[in-house]
């Protein structure tokens, strides 16, 4: 029996960038939204194994959303990967308490490095060695 595919939730308001990401993540079930207000509803409906989020989202930045997620028992353990053009300005140690497991630069990622990172984070969540 094949292993169940992991579900990823992409939160990014750049539709075209989001399209290119989704195309390179065909080994996962991918859910997308540009709107941080939809995130809790999508979590409830799809139970994502991991969230990939940009920092700047419409009228809000992602950190307010992540703080809210940390305040709920049911959402605080969902691992977050930040994917942003501002990655160079974010220190992972400063944001780990928001559930962020990795910070990737949009200007540097390739499909392969993104998939490697996702797999590492999911394996780590399951208690497996990366």
């Amino acid at each position: 029996m094949s292993e169940q595919r992991a579900t990823l939730l992409i939160v990014d308001d750049d539709a075209w960038f989001s399209d290119t990401l989704t195309a390179s993540l065909d080994s996962y079930v991918v859910i997308r939204t540009p709107d941080p207000d939809e995130v809790f509803d999508l979590i409830e409906r799809h139970h994502p194994d991991l969230i990939i989020a940009d920092v700047m989202l419409g009228a809000r930045n992602v950190f307010a959303l992540l703080q809210e997620m940390q305040s709920y028992l049911d959402t605080r353990d969902i691992p977050i990967v930040i994917l942003s053009a501002l990655a160079g300005q974010i220190d992972l140690d400063d944001v780990k308490q928001l559930g962020i497991q990795a910070v990737l630069d949009k200007a540097e990622i390739t499909p392969e490095t993104l998939v490697d990172c996702i797999n590492d984070v999911i394996r780590s969540k399951k208690g497996l060695a990366p």
Binding site: A15, W16, A23, R60, N61, A85, A107, T110
Partner: protein, 231 residues
């Protein structure tokens, strides 16, 4: 951070966004073996590079403003709107959006510079497309209001927090530092629009909508050259 450093950071951030997308689209193109997908990616590459070029062009014009290279003349706002809407409609369509033009008062002749007005309107519409949801329209209107010629561009993006809105209003025309309220934008585009309007004795204003989205308005002096009304 000095004003120069702040501007350099804003320019760098603003140019990085389309460059990041261009790189990602190129990677997708390399991987794709589907012709219709390749054609769609190529179209997006073209629109994204054109967007970057418009920004660079506007930045160049901003640098030339002080040399007074842009003469003021009577300009038919409807003509400018039609031309810019024609140019940007394919971009809106590629984002599954629609540009809706309403010329409420016609003929409407303002005192301005056609080239600056076209760049300013392009920038505002471009900004609106980036913040608008799929399927929505960007509404462009020209009208007379309180004795001024006014060009408005409305998007239907997320509702902006009041505190962010106040910060945005306060910063209009003063600086091009990061504005958290309109991400994907360092505020540079709005700063440029304000500079263009100031060079034409005009000003930029902004309103938010309870139902979502923002309206940016360019206010310009009305022309009193009635003979041009039939142009």
């Amino acid at each position: 951070m000095s004003e120069l450093e702040g501007s350099a950071v804003a320019v760098a951030h603003e140019l990085k966004t389309p460059l990041v997308l261009l790189r990602q689209l190129t990677l997708s193109l390399e991987r794709s073996d589907n012709v219709s997908e390749q054609l769609e990616i190529i179209k997006r590459l073209r629109f994204t590079s054109e967007r970057s070029l418009r920004l660079v062009d506007s930045l160049t014009k901003t640098a030339r403003l002080e040399d007074a290279l842009f003469e003021l003349e009577p300009v038919q706002l409807h003509t400018v709107c039609v031309s810019v809407v024609d140019e940007l409609s394919p971009l809106a369509k590629a984002h599954k959006q629609h540009l809706k033009l309403r010329s409420i008062h016609q003929p409407l002749v303002a005192v301005g510079n056609r080239e600056l007005l076209s760049s300013l309107l392009s920038g505002l519409i471009d900004n609106a497309i980036q913040h608008n949801p799929i399927g929505a329209s960007v509404e462009i209107a020209s009208k007379i209001h309180h004795g001024e010629a006014v060009l408005t561009v409305r998007d239907f993006g997320s509702t902006i927090d009041l505190s962010d809105f106040r910060a945005l209003k306060d910063s209009l025309g003063k600086r091009a530092l990061p504005i958290s309220s309109r991400p994907m934008s360092s505020g540079l585009g709005l700063f440029i629009a304000s500079q263009f309007l100031a060079a034409m004795d005009g000003r930029l204003s902004v309103q938010r909508h309870y139902s979502g989205g923002m309206t940016f308005s360019a206010h310009l002096p009305l022309s009193r050259q009635l003979s041009l009304l039939e142009v």
